[in-house]
């Protein structure tokens, strides 16, 4: 076992983990953060996307021990005080999901896109979502939601605490 200290969604945790533990397993099984889902076994689908030190990674492709000393934000850390993050709100308002399984990863990656492209073109949104698969093929409204969120203040921030 290896001792790690990781800040997840603003809270700091210290745990002993097996080195083979994937970050996504640690989030789900040790911390109960089941909002981050596992969609594939190949690192293709992007459903498990979280932010590591503020930028998106596939949490099935990172060991929990690699996150030692770092900061993780999951889909569960976006809303604050019952107020949806602007990106979550945009997904809701634009009906950007069907079955919803890819949604946590889509939203985390969509926020990451806005960090590089505050006013993204449709092409930049589509290329930015290249590593996130939606098997309902609802990409149309997902792209629409990201474009809508880009116009909302604070959509590129890590949480909905806009202006704090």
């Amino acid at each position: 076992m290896t001792r790690i200290t990781v800040t997840v969604d603003g809270d700091t945790y210290t745990d002993d983990v097996e080195p083979r533990t994937l970050l996504v397993q640690y989030l789900r099984e040790n911390l109960g953060k089941v909002g981050t889902v596992i969609g594939c076994d190949t690192s293709n689908c992007g459903a498990c996307t979280v932010h590591l030190d503020g930028r998106s990674v596939k949490s099935c492709n990172v060991l929990a021990v690699q996150a030692d000393g770092h900061e993780v934000t999951t889909i569960e850390g976006l809303a604050t005080d019952g107020q949806l993050h602007p990106m979550q709100k945009a997904f809701h308002e634009n009906h950007a999901l069907q079955c919803g399984y890819c949604t946590p990863g889509m939203i985390m990656q969509a926020i990451d896109i806005l960090k590089d492209h505050p006013d993204p073109s449709e092409q930049q949104i589509r290329e930015g979502l290249e590593g996130n698969l939606c098997r309902c093929t609802g990409y149309h409204n997902i792209v629409k939601a990201v474009a809508a969120a880009a116009k909302a203040p604070g959509a590129e921030l890590a949480s909905s605490k806009v202006g704090e």
Partner: protein
């Protein structure tokens, strides 16, 4: 699935990493992990120890060294894409890296990890080979430098020994060379079925020199030397380029698989070499 159990060390210096490797018969080196972790998860490999290079600061970054740029092996794709030295002196490398996988993978993946993994369908080997890159390998006896042409030995096999590390990639400056990476895939973020890395030095509308690297046209990245020679000194006309690029697959023995047989790949190589050279010469 999850990996089989292993011991884990995260040394903070190259010397400590080498010591950790020497201490085990069956260790794997973890760079960015974007190829290694899927392999461990699918249990295609079950090392007894994983040596994580992620905490070795000296292995990251790009610097200028005379007529070359030197890239730390642990420099991520995202950092390379943002690096002004890479953009100015190794545009071909940048063009290839833009096509690697997807944004999340490019965030974590490293140039050194990709080169040592040596997947023939990977996108980094061909541009490094075409740019006459040199690989700096460090072991307990010190550093040695291997030309890219001698680095790739076979499928997933390089000149890096069991107890050695790839520590840096040295790319001779190709300042002002036009560059293009043309990659053939059927769906987003698929491995290259065939890809072509082309870079040219123009003098007016004449191609003074050309370098062409091929991805997934054999068990290692290859140079299209017949095409390079045929392009040198030619006017950059569509006809002259097409004629030279018809030789792109000469001497290759590409794999046959579900994505296409060897002859199909040879055809693709000529088409994508022509497109890449046209774009690089534009």
């Amino acid at each position: 699935m999850i990996p089989t159990a292993f011991d884990y060390v995260a040394p903070e210096s190259v010397a400590d990493a080498l010591a950790a490797l020497a201490d085990s018969d069956d260790a794997k080196v973890l760079a960015g992990g974007q190829s290694l972790l899927p392999i461990l998860r699918m249990r295609l490999n079950a090392p007894d120890k994983v040596v994580d290079l992620g905490r070795i600061a000296e292995l990251r970054g790009v610097r200028e060294d005379g007529d070359a740029i030197v890239i730390g092996a642990m420099t991520s794709y995202v950092d390379l894409l943002a690096d002004p030295l890479v953009a100015e002196h190794a545009a071909l490398l940048k063009a290839a890296i833009e096509t690697v996988a997807d944004p999340q993978i490019r965030r974590r993946g490293t140039i050194g990890g990709a080169l040592v993994h040596a997947d023939p369908a990977g996108d980094v080997g061909a541009p490094v080979l075409a740019l006459d890159g040199e690989l700096v390998i460090t072991g307990s006896a010190g550093e040695r430098t291997v030309a890219a042409a001698d680095f790739f030995e076979d499928l997933f096999t390089t000149a890096v020994g069991e107890d050695e590390l790839l520590t840096a990639v040295r790319i001779p400056k190709h300042t002002g060379w036009g560059a293009a990476y043309e990659k053939f895939v059927r769906v987003a973020h698929q491995w290259s079925i065939v890809a072509v890395a082309a870079t040219v030095r123009m003098e007016g509308d004449t191609i003074a020199e050309a370098r062409v690297g091929l991805t997934n046209m054999g068990s290692t990245p290859l140079r299209a030397t017949a095409t390079e020679e045929a392009l040198a000194g030619k006017q950059a006309s569509a006809e002259a380029i097409a004629e030279a690029c018809a030789k792109a697959a000469d001497g290759t023995n590409p794999p046959s698989d579900l994505n296409g047989d060897g002859d199909y790949r040879k055809h693709l190589a000529t088409v994508f070499t022509r497109r890449a050279v046209l774009a690089a010469a534009d």
